[in-house]
Symmetry: D2
Subunit: 381 residues, 4 copies
């Protein structure tokens, strides 16, 4: 793999499910996009679990590997630190990477609370590094199209936003308490896990909410401990979070995230109604955006299943527009955007400022649900 | 039309869109059901608008007609008063019908506020009349099936309820202020109009909520006056109402009703997730209930589009089970249930007690949205 | 029921499932339509099964009843003979009704073979009576819309037609041999039963085929006899019929009908692709027509789920356009069209000429499948 | 990329859209699958167009490149020849690769006619090489699931097969005549292009047809020439092909392929009805298989949207089962199967014998459509 004048050398920290997907996406970029602003290079990988990084290097083609993430962060042959560790382990890596002047691509949520996230944003800004939060749905063709339609005014004044992200992975009471069910490792439950994605879409389509009213619930409060399966422990994070939303421009909305939505696979849904039209999207049908255009003559009105695959995101050359895509494609596009931004020295979008805004909404929902009633979303930018 | 040993003679008050649909449904009953517990007879019709009742009699076959509804209420040849007037005009008819000892079939909402509704329920109970509130979706086969599945425990412990009823009829700012946009005639906006239907489904499937948190919005606050189209007036009812819900058993939920949901036709949606399964329904696809059964082997799991048409409601004989049905069919079944109950002297379901429960939830949502925060739903039975 | 200056008095022959639905539809017309060109009156009903006609009269409100259909055909108080008997019993009723100068509304198929159908058309034309074949899907709003779109050229030059009508009622090998499984009573199997509907839609949307290539199959060749369930008999009609189609204008197409399509309820599907657009319809989702308009800018293209309910057929007043409808609604509209035509003295559409064209296609498919290869559809008009 | 004890070294011939996708898939394999039977290595790439192979090597990471495909075929450092050239150029590469004793992975259709395909199969068999035809839909989870369900008897005796593959890329009459519209380069039109895929699914699900009845059509017979756009040329291949099918076991079916199906994106549809159940699949919704199980109690019956993604194909580890996938994923699985077969010395499936069977059906359809009527599918194995 050569002949690119520029390279963007990736150092990956953490190689679980998400690390694997990121590695995949970097490898797909040179084939899917043309022209290519720079060549993504899988330079180094670190994972604390013995053997994992070595295996990752062998499989994915990282040039070198280590169990000590600090080596990657400090290595001069790495341009971008890609953080795929559990939530609570983001912070030390972020701090070290910023100190080392590395650019950063960090899985959501940025931190485990708003305060840390704000501090990281300030440090990153001061250090002048480039930073991107992983919010891959921004790069799904159907949702890119949705965003452009809203920006072009095709929906008019927004009345309603409805955002849901439903999983079913925690319905089984025998699922043990591992890191995702421990507040100390995550900062929260499903709202910290799935919330960033749907909050991000809300922000892209309607903007920041001004006020929220939250509600949390933990349906299964006792579960076996992962490390001692015969022993039960208390779950200290929520299975479900809901919020009513008010927006500055007069729109209203709602958010709902759950990991106990029996029957859901990976169901991110977005619906927006405005004075000129409406849109609907469901990740279980990811190739299409449904659009209702009130501007059409009455006899032509109806939700249109608009093909969006690969019309976004240019300059992709594969697969051809007519073919169906899936979730991994969004990561390829997200990381292409990262590579393009780094290559051109531009700040990527969505940045840590967007990550802080996600935390601001999460923080407000948590405070509201704890008894604060309608709660203003902190102004963070 | 003869040879029935029993008759249930209907006196209809108000003959607009809903009166017409009720008349249709009474006429369809003898053909759709077999055996027939009693013959519904279109005996009398009253409407204050000159000519309307006369025309209704000619078309629908009422034996006699009048502009004075009191004549119908007091007539000895009428068994059941069927109330299809605007909301605020229900009260005097209800009072007179109860005083006259007539059975009552009343369009939702029963009254324009909780207090009046409770008073009417008490009076009806004291008078010993039989009474039914119109909540036709209880009689749609797919939703009858949903109810039975919940009752049989096929969903297990309920985690999530999601109820929406979306219309788009008020998106156009040129739609004038007529009775449905005047609080004095309705007692409220979309929550009073569409709310009873979705609250009723919530109660059927999950039961009464214990607490609600509401949010209202009026997107279009000035509209032309119906009677003076060149003059603008202020809208004093909401276009949109939302609520977060908490249930006694630990389930959580949400309600949303809107008349400004651009792109919606008549979109009542219900989704329930439980520990053993899930169901989904959308009135725009009324012949099917979507059911996910966690009890199935993993390889067989998925939402099943269960055919429900005419398996409910027995003892219907037409149309045959395989054929698609629509909204009017639910009215036929609702009124068959009325006729059957009256014929056998049993209290129909849903009764005015159910109507009062609808009002209790509406009342709590209005108070919450007015600043009361989480608000207990009054215990009314 | 009075005050109509004009009446159209119906004499119904045969009161099974279809008779019941026709009776329903006549009763619904005066409520659903305004203005009403004439009042349909359920005058007389005949059924050879003792008690059936009497019961029908009691239930549906026919003025008089008889076991002898000739009495109805000859009665001076009847204007229209509505034929709902099994296929092979149409012929004598048709002949007698034509001889008596009655107008006729006849269930499909008109006869059990092309030759009889042609003879009946000639006799009816000579007698100057008005005649309509029941092809209710012509009156389903979505398909009315489809027809108009084709006529307006919105699909351009037609390339492809695809028509299916799938039922599953004969998958069970224990279903006994009753009249529908006997050639002597029907003239054929599923092609004679479901074929007329899909052939009619083909003709409405694309026109007559020029040539067909057919294929028949009987999957279950031995079944219990209805009258002696312990004895097996041979099925002499087809369970499945398929045809390839060539059209004069260069379009190609296919037809498929089956009563052994496991999983189907009442699945009539139509798909048409043309040089300017495409349409799709499925009776299991009867309220929507899916339309693809190649004339739209590329970014707006996609199948649009166009609402059609009650925009067709005017002058219907109920139910309101936004509400879902079902199969029975099509019969109401078909019979309204009958009443309107009779009242105005105009020949109804679809007429017996259309019925003959159905038979011409069926005849050609049967001959092709019997070994004739590509077979020209007889020119019958 | 190291540490694999075994390697499978790929030499790719032709690097257009399909070459690119194959390169992508080889690169994705090591990340998606665990354990990995051998490491796929992008060893060499050839393309006659100057610069294309060089660019491919730089982008996709082939070790060396050339404009002369014979160099790749003859190179000792290549194990498998992957053929991605236009149809008519397969033959010389196949012959040379077989002569060189290389294993082969060849895009469909294998050849441009049945006779050549049979000859290639004989030569490959004699040479003892391993060979696989690209039929990627065999490796789409939903269709793998479908195949297993049929094999397990979950559909019972098959009654109906319906297969369609619809594209719209040739609706525009300004699309010029390039190689896909020239018989000399392809051996045929849409039947040679899309036919192999749908015929392959037919064979997987129901088996070989015994007889076919075909119909071809070219809607747009004159088009601009690609090399002289101001000049029109005659199209000598079909835009549309249809066939009726009879199977040895008594089932019937139909095939349809078109490149003029306005509104279609990449719409491969399969429907099968059997005595115990039915399945439906549409590539535009590739993550789900719809299954109707007649063995369920009546109240539970209906089409179930079964999740299939990544339950097949094991031993995939990414993406996780719940996530949506798309078309490219099928190529990854197809090529994983190739690598696994080569590594273990087993003949891959689908092999050139399957490719010959595709050609046998295509050949029979062409002969039937040319006037032969019902035509037996040659027995080729």
């Amino acid at each position: 793999m050569a002949a690119q004048s520029r390279q963007v050398r990736i150092g990956m920290i953490g190689y679980g499910q998400m690390g694997r997907i990121h590695a995949y996406a970097y490898r797909a970029i040179p084939i899917f996009y043309d022209p290519l602003p720079a060549e993504p290079v899988l330079q180094a990988v670190a994972d604390v679990v013995p053997g994992v990084a070595e295996r990752a290097a062998a499989r994915a083609g990282f040039s070198w590997h280590t169990e000590d993430w600090r080596r990657v962060v400090e290595s001069p042959d790495v341009d971008v630190i890609d953080i795929c560790t559990p939530n609570s382990e983001h912070l030390p890596v972020l701090e070290a990477a910023i100190a080392a002047g590395k650019h950063i691509y960090c899985e959501k949520p940025l931190c485990t609370n708003l305060k840390d996230a704000q501090r990281i944003l300030q440090a990153a800004t001061k250090a002048g590094i480039l930073h991107q939060i992983v919010a891959e749905y921004r790069f799904l063709p159907a949702l890119m199209r949705a965003r452009d339609m809203v920006r072009e005014g095709l929906l008019g004044e927004i009345f309603h936003f409805r955002g849901l992200y439903l999983h079913a992975g925690y319905v089984d009471p025998r699922r043990p308490i591992a890191w995702r069910l421990r507040r100390e490792a995550t900062g929260g439950g499903v709202l910290m896990d799935l919330g960033p994605h749907i909050i991000d879409q809300m922000r892209v389509l309607v903007g920041n909410a001004s006020e929220v009213q939250g509600n949390l619930e933990t349906f299964i409060r006792q579960r076996p401990l992962a490390e001692r399966p015969n022993e039960m422990g208390s779950v200290d994070v929520e299975d479900s979070a809901q919020a009513l939303l008010r927006f500055p421009g007069g729109a209203v909305g709602s958010l709902e995230v759950s990991r106990c939505a029996t029957g859901a696979e990976d169901e991110l849904r977005v619906e927006v109604h405005g004075s000129r039209g409406a849109i609907r999207f469901n990740l279980m049908d990811p190739n299409w955006l449904y659009w209702y255009d009130l501007g059409k003559p009455e006899a032509e009105r109806g939700f249109t299943r608009v093909a969006t695959v690969q019309r976004y995101p240019a300059p992709a050359v594969a697969p051809a527009p007519k073919f169906s895509i899936g979730w991994t494609r969004a990561h390829v596009a997200s990381q292409f955007s990262l590579v393009e931004s780094i290559a051109s020295g531009r700040q990527p979008v969505p940045s840590f400022a967007d990550a802080v805004a996600m935390h601001a909404h999460i923080d407000a929902i948590y405070r509201s649900a704890a008894g604060a009633g309608w709660t203003a979303v902190p102004h963070v930018e």
